[in-house]
């Protein structure tokens, strides 16, 4: 960015969850996100990858304050999101939106899809009813849906179409940052590529910045500019995409890459196992090469 302020600056973000072991068991605190820091520049696609329980989804939700982080800072365009009052947060949400993984449960089944996409415009008091309906039709065309279907219900659409509806809703208020949490993993293989292409087209057209949360490394390699690999709440390694896939430094990144099934029967298969000892004790990230950080 021209003035040197990144679009999003996450510093030492931490989230603890309290849980009881059984009904009467002792209270225990689980640290889901542990001092995670990263910066996303305007127009970039930054990916958080990791396996289940790595904290990638919790990180995304803490940034939008869909859940409240325990500590840390989230700076969006130079303002501290965690210091916002409720009304300031609501205003800021216009600029930061989320697309969820499951297009089957993230759309209200009792609402017409046109109303689902219009809802954020109503909440943020945008325009007259007629102007809003025109905007909804425009959003439908933008994501490749036919505005003639505005009065239908979610169940009348396929998974790929529902994900387009979720995207139209997220884009209604012209956000600059979109957190895409596993946006294609619930879709059929042949439909995934359509939605990925749509995400790429929209990014160019609308100058969007993506925080892309995913477990599919092949997809992450394809779509993102920089990648952070998470394990048990911490970033193990963070680098420009080509660097991370070409010259991984952390043993966990190497293990993860070696486990990806390659669609080639003759590809060499040398698998590296995961050793939790790599993370005990936790090591701080250090810059092993320009813009390449690893907890080694």
């Amino acid at each position: 960015m021209a003035d040197g302020v990144p679009l999003l600056d996450v510093r030492r973000l931490t989230k603890d969850f309290d849980a009881r072991a059984g009904l009467w068991g002792p209270r225990r605190t689980t640290r889901a996100v542990d001092e995670v820091s990263f910066v996303i520049e305007e127009g970039e696609t930054f990916a958080l990858v990791g396996e289940s329980g790595s904290g990638k989804t919790t990180t995304g939700r803490c940034i939008l304050r869909l859940i409240e982080p325990t500590s840390g800072e989230v700076w969006f365009r130079g303002e501290n999101v965690l210091a916002y009052t409720r009304s300031e947060l609501r205003r800021a949400r216009r600029h930061m939106q989320i697309v969820f993984q499951d297009p089957y449960s993230s759309l209200n089944p009792r609402m017409r899809v046109g109303d689902i996409v219009e809802e954020p415009l109503v909440i943020h008091k945008q325009g007259s009813r007629a102007e809003r309906r025109e905007r909804v039709a425009e959003l439908f065309r933008l994501v490749g849906l036919d505005p003639a279907q505005l009065d239908r219900y979610p169940h009348q659409f396929s998974g790929g179409q529902r994900q387009r509806i979720g995207l139209a809703r997220a884009l209604a208020l012209n956000p600059s940052l979109v957190v895409a949490d596993e946006p294609v993993s619930a879709l059929d293989v042949s439909v995934q590529a359509q939605v990925v292409n749509l995400l790429l087209d929209l990014q160019q057209q609308l100058k969007l910045t993506y925080l892309f949360i995913a477990h599919d490394l092949r997809l992450v390699e394809h779509i993102s500019v920089r990648v952070a690999v998470m394990y048990r709440g911490r970033i193990a390694e963070m680098a420009p995409t080509a660097r991370l896939f070409g010259a991984p430094q952390h043993p966990y990144t190497k293990a993860l890459l070696s486990a990806v099934p390659v669609p080639d029967p003759d590809a060499p298969r040398v698998r590296v196992g995961v050793d939790p000892g790599w993370f005990d004790p936790p090591r701080p990230l250090r810059e092993v090469a320009p813009r390449h950080w690893a907890a080694v």
Binding site: E51, S52, S158, G160, Q161, D188, V189, S190, V191, Q192, A193, Q194, V196, N197, L200, H215, D216, L217, R218, L219, E221, H222, I223, A255, L256, S258, A259, V260, P261, V262, P263, D264, P265, D266, A267, R269, R271, G273, V274
Partner: protein, 324 residues
């Protein structure tokens, strides 16, 4: 090689109010001894219905409407239910997709492995001893301790190992694995696929591996059958499928994978998977096919030879002399 399993013209339908729709439409394939056949398809393609049909576990409104399933020289679709009960587990075993729900939460892991053996005639003591052997074979960490645990104490990967142990308990000849790694993390998936490969060699198994993931298929299968809308549209050796795919759907699937082509845009297949109740006339893939021509609407294409041991249901591969 002799075929252990020969499926011929298998048709499994769903009875709706006024009509029946075919989830599996006249499907034929063989699995040879010691071979892994990969069955690839998207949701609704009928691949899981094939697994249930082989074991005769199709539930209403589903129903096997025709065909034959020859296994060790008898037709499973014609044999009495009592004999089918002996076949299930003892000769053909099934591994499910969901390791979280396929185990009974109120019995220990050891009891559930032993139960499979007791049902097929072992004594309790024999079953307990064999359960421990199996737990070691599937590399459960600290097997004796693991067997005394309840399923909720185990991780997803460990539960899948338990399910594999149960499947192997009675030394079946054929194991059907329906999306065995789909619910697992990628590092655990790699371990389970390694285990399946090892078990296959050690116990001389034949394997029917059902998955939507071409990456999983590439590393595990010997032969591949690609399904679309209830039919096998292409079948060939694994190398042939990946190096010389002939059906436009197979080509489209391979090309749509991230990293398979240059540029940032992916090569998407247009449209969506059709509803089996409303299939287009002619080739079911026709409306999405980049290569369709007038003949595609004329009727479902029969299987044409595209090479040795390579069949493809696509009019592009109809021999020229058959056109007249």
């Amino acid at each position: 090689m002799t075929a252990l399993l020969s499926v011929r013209h298998l048709t499994t339908v769903f009875d709706l109010d006024r009509r029946s729709v075919a989830a599996v439409d006249a499907v034929s394939f063989d699995i040879n001894e010691g071979e892994t056949l990969g069955l690839v398809g998207e949701s609704g393609s009928g691949k899981s219905m094939i697994a249930l049909s082989i074991l005769r576990l199709v539930q209403p409104p589903g129903r096997i409407a025709g065909g034959s399933i020859l296994f060790r020289d008898r037709d499973l679709l014609a044999c009495p239910e009592a004999e089918m009960r002996r076949v299930r587990g003892a000769e053909i075993a099934l591994i499910f997709q969901e390791p979280m729900t396929a185990l009974n939460p109120v019995f220990t892991v050891g009891d559930q492995i032993a139960e499979a053996l007791v049902v097929h005639g072992a004594t309790r003591a024999e079953a307990q001893a064999r359960a421990l052997e199996l737990a070691e074979a599937v590399r459960l960490p600290d097997p004796a301790h693991c067997l005394r645990n309840y399923p909720h104490r185990l991780s997803g990967g460990m539960r899948q190992r338990v399910l594999i142990a149960i499947a192997l308990a009675c030394r079946p000849a054929l194991v059907i694995a329906d999306e065995p790694t789909t619910a697992l993390d990628v590092t655990i998936q790699a371990e389970i696929l390694d285990l399946l490969r090892t078990m296959k060699t050690r116990f001389h198994l034949s394997l029917l591996l059902i998955t939507h993931d071409l990456g999983v298929i590439a590393g595990t299968a010997d032969r591949v059958a690609v399904m679309y809308a209830g039919r096998i549209v292409e079948e060939a050796a694994v190398r042939t499928i990946f190096r010389e795919p002939r059906h436009p759907y197979t080509r489209g699937l391979l090309a749509s994978m991230p990293g398979s082509g240059p540029g940032r845009r992916l090569q998407a297949i247009e449209g969506t998977v059709p509803d089996i109740g409303a299939l287009p006339l002619g080739c079911a893939f026709g409306p999405r096919c980049p290569d369709r021509f007038d003949r595609c609407g004329s009727g479902p294409p029969p299987a044409f030879e595209a090479g040795p041991e390579h069949q493809v249901r696509c009019y592009l591969h109809q021999p020229k002399d058959a056109l007249r």
